[in-house]
């Protein structure tokens, strides 16, 4: 399979069997060859200048033309050679300072030496990758913010976690990695189904998914109010249209809808089945069975498979609902595009007391509101609103300095710990709020020291 990546294209076939971390060169034809470690002649004193006062940037210092370089590439000359050629044909190279020469070589190498390293996926790799290339898909969750969430949430083996995220499954994957396949996770999802695109990139062993459950957000309210049951589950769209057609009385459609309704009623014995529907299918059955027997058999098998899958899904849903009803989750992680307040207020109900929870939001304001609503609700302490500031450094002899700052772009976190909710007394909850809220100016000083 051809992989195209940043103007390079190659086949991965030759990479199979090598250890993770191996560096390859892309040769002509797109094949990968393990790269040999080349001894850089670093100890030679190169001819170099002292500063750039006499270097004029007129775009004419490189004698090789675009076509010359292309010809070299077409000849199949190695990237290293091309870089060497560029250096030799540059009139200003030896006037540059050593540092500038280093920088020049590095830049040309990056452009002409087709070198790739294949690494094993991990939260570190995937979160930095997603933040750099597809931040929109992960609500601009910067990787250090994700790191804070995993620690503040005490994510570890054996927990029963509730995760609600719309970050392509990256947050879920990170949680799964820190749980190592132990414990269980219930992923809450909006819409039709959970998105786990990024999760599959982690390469987890199959058994990690044995204790991964999912539950639709749209059923949370009914679960909390106690009205959740299989009856309230929406039928699949197909079922609805067929139920309509049934009443039209067309033969073919009768046939298929017969099977549909049959399938519906068979596995769900507990479910209330429409009495008249049942009657109808039995009547139709008697009439058409002989005539369409073969066709029936074939489509019956497909339908049976579909029926089995549907039954599996519904079974899992009931199981997951039961897990949630226990209200003993060890923690809650929220990182989504939705307003966090309604999510927290409802999902916290499923969490046991004295457990941490962390909410990520790209913006600060919704978390301000969340904080306020949580104070009103009570049952939470140690609420903290924070963001992290990350700075990368270039460390080279005599050239150490910060590289680029990414501050302000990483999102915000609201974290806290659940406590037993005192539902009876409004008084105690307000005094709790007072207790845990705004400190007096005296306390501020102590706070400063504790940082």
């Amino acid at each position: 399979r051809k992989i195209i990546f940043e103007k390079q294209w190659f086949y991965l076939d030759n990479a199979i069997g090598h250890i993770y971390g191996t560096t390859f060169e892309v040769t002509s034809g797109g094949n990968l060859q393990p790269k040999q470690e080349v001894e850089e002649a670093a100890t030679e004193t190169k001819e170099a200048g002292t500063d750039n006062r006499n270097i004029v940037d007129d775009g004419k210092s490189q004698k090789l033309t675009h076509d010359d370089i292309k010809a070299l590439k077409d000849k199949g000359i190695k990237g290293q050679e091309i870089v060497q050629q560029l250096i030799e044909n540059s009139t200003t190279f030896r006037d540059k300072t050593e540092f500038a020469q280093d920088k020049y070589i590095k830049k040309k190498k990056k452009k002409y030496e087709a070198v790739i390293t294949i690494v094993k996926p991990s939260t570190r790799i995937l979160s930095t990758m997603y933040y750099a290339r597809e931040p929109g898909k992960i609500n601009h969750l910067r990787y250090d913010t994700l790191a804070q969430m995993l620690t503040l949430g005490n994510i570890r083996a054996g927990n029963k976690m509730i995760v609600m995220e719309t970050c392509a499954g990256l947050v879920l994957g990170a949680v799964m990695e820190r749980m190592g396949g132990y414990g269980s996770i219930i992923q809450m999802y909006p819409g039709g189904g959970p998105v786990r695109a990024a999760t599959s990139c982690f390469g987890f062993p199959k058994h990690f998914f044995d204790n991964l459950h999912e539950f639709p957000l749209s059923k949370v309210d009914s679960l909390l109010s106690g009205t959740f049951s299989m009856e309230t589950l929406p039928l699949e769209p197909e079922d609805n249209t067929l139920a309509e057609e049934e009443s039209n009385g067309l033969t073919d459609e009768k046939q298929t809808c017969l099977q549909e309704t049959e399938d519906e009623s068979a596995p769900e014995a507990a479910m209330e089945v429409n009495q008249t529907e049942e009657q109808e299918t039995m009547d139709i059955n008697a009439e058409d069975v002989e005539f369409k027997e073969n066709k029936e058999k074939e489509s019956k098998e497909n339908v049976r498979e579909k029926q089995r899958k549907q039954w599996e899904r519904r079974k899992k849903l009931i199981e997951t609902a039961a897990l949630l009803r226990e209200k003993n989750a060890d923690g809650l992680i929220v990182a989504s595009k939705f307003h966090p307040t309604p999510l927290l207020l409802s999902l916290l109900e499923f969490v046991a007391p004295s457990r941490p929870f962390v909410v990520y939001c790209q913006y600060k304001e919704p978390l301000l509101e969340c904080y306020t609503k949580l104070r009103e609700r009570g049952g939470v302490i140690n609420l903290k609103l924070s963001e992290t500031w990350l700075r990368n450094y270039q460390v080279l002899p005599d050239r150490s300095h910060p590289k680029l700052t990414m501050s302000g772009g990483g999102g915000y976190l609201l974290s806290g710990i659940t406590v037993v909710l005192d539902k009876g007394k409004a008084d105690s909850s307000t005094s709790e709020a007072l207790k845990t809220d705004e400190p007096s100016s005296k306390r501020c000083k102590v706070q400063d020291l504790h940082c």
Partner: protein
Amino acid sequence: MSFVEYGDTIKDGDTAIVFLGHESMFPVKVQHGTVTQTKYGVIRHSTDLIGKKYGSKVTCSKGGWVFILHPTPELWTMNLPHRTQILYSTDISIITMMLELKPGSIVCESGTGSGSLSHALIRTVAPTGHLYTVEFHQQRAEKAREEFREHGVEHLVTVTNQDVCKSGFGVSNIADAVFLDIPSPWEAIGHAKSALKAEGGRICSFSPCIEQVQRTCLVMEEYGFTEINTLEILLRMYNVRTISLQIPDLGKAAEDNSSAGFDSSNPSNQGSPCTNLQQGTVQFKSGVPLREMVGHTGYLTFATKS
């Protein structure tokens, strides 16, 4: 309870966290017959703690109350007795992720110090991983061993009392990750490399001074480490406050009865004619930064063993 597993009820011998209110908490060793003094009064372990659910509210003798929390490495970091300067959860978080730690990982650490990072590492590698931690100060090493025992995690950690720069970590070719928080990390890089597994191991060095970082990076390169990368991370906290700002009195034009329009939403000013004394306020919620924040803890340098 355990630092690596949740329990529901408080038991004799547990370490629990007593939460008194804003930023105020302390750890307590739960023991039958013992009594703990707080500013709200006395807590009797036998009646008030043992058997209660974690997260419960406990009323103290003077009538005030506290919450009893299940310990976590993060709560421990905020409340442990300092024997040395410690690492806080902000740095610990990024270290854990960048070293790719997870259940089953083998980690080497030096120096153990007050055990702040150690507890977090043990939590992450449990139940199948292990922490080898080296501390050259004899009493600190012994105190660390004692704490790990009390917290029920001694099976996950080995404390060695030696100088990592001279004698290494005591293991070779098995570590997934090595962490160094010592004055001269460049002296330990060689030992770190031999402790790490053959391919793909990760290393992290924490140093407050850039000169230390420069020396360490050079030595890492000499020893063939790749992906050498230095960063720093800082925590910005916000206090959620309702702020009221006064609207200034800009006077009134002679015949103008309505205000400039800014405070149309403020009922106290609507339709009010003249008088300078009636000045309204606007309220809003804000995340206010703290007066002072931590500006620097240390530089974190990561690399991969190739």
